[in-house]
Symmetry: C2
Subunit: 154 residues, 2 copies
């Protein structure tokens, strides 16, 4: 329902957010998220340009959230890479319809609004804090990587 790119971005943000050891380097994010290698750098750069993450090169470098996970919503992450498109005008371009959507497009827009509201009301912190479930995404294969990001470049 969301694009693969948007889902990859959410995985990456969660991987960065759940790090307690500071900046997270790209190979660690790749390991945690299992995002295809060709996609991850592009997704991370898009998130950086959107102002959601900071990146720093070199020793001790890597990616960090630009804002606290408590303030960052799922919607912001999705919209940074592949914005949810509400239907605000007749998709058929009929002048007489304009913003007065027909019932079909009104229902489709209402469904989109449900998703938008769900995503807007969920913070990344909430994804990390839910008790009694699987760890967000997956345990890294080598958990120690999270604590040792400085050994790799971004």
């Amino acid at each position: 329902m969301i694009s693969p790119t948007a889902e990859y971005a959410l995985r990456a943000i969660v991987a960065i957010a759940q790090s307690s050891g500071g900046a997270v380097v790209t190979p660690t994010i790749a390991e945690i998220t299992r995002v295809p290698p060709g996609y991850l750098p592009k997704v991370l750069q898009t998130l950086r340009r959107a102002g959601l993450v900071h990146s720093k090169r070199g020793l001790g470098g890597g990616f960090t959230l630009a804002r606290p996970a408590e303030e960052l919503t799922v919607l912001e992450v999705v919209n940074a890479v592949d914005p949810i498109k509400r239907i605000d005008r007749c998709p058929l371009g009929i002048d007489s319809h304009g913003t007065n959507l027909c019932p079909l497009h009104k229902r489709l827009d209402e469904a989109t609004a449900l998703v938008e509201q769900s995503f807007a009301s969920t913070t990344i912190a909430e994804l990390l804090a839910e008790p009694g479930r699987s760890t967000p995404l997956c345990q890294p294969v080598k958990p120690i990587d999270l604590a040792m990001p400085s050994k790799r470049g971004t």
Copy 2:
């Protein structure tokens, strides 16, 4: 949020459902729905194969709904051409997660469920019957076409 193909299928179904003159031929559906010419025949054939519409060639031929619009839901139409995919297993393929989704994928699945429920609870007839809105989709440029489908082949 739904694919262009799914939206085109919904337009086509609504165009067929709102015909009071019997079968609707492809050129009329194309005119009403404004679906790109290369897509429409494929969409209509997919709907036919899924058992949602009947087609008949020749004089008096065209497309009709296979079931009353009161019994046909938006979800059935969407699922016939581009099924909504619920997340029922960890998309990262982690064995230890399996069907026990992490909070991220659980939230994404919940949002998908909202859309699925919305579409399942809306019939095509309801789209046609809503008062006080724009006519579903658009008035055909030549309304008489709807009453004269027999002049064209499917």
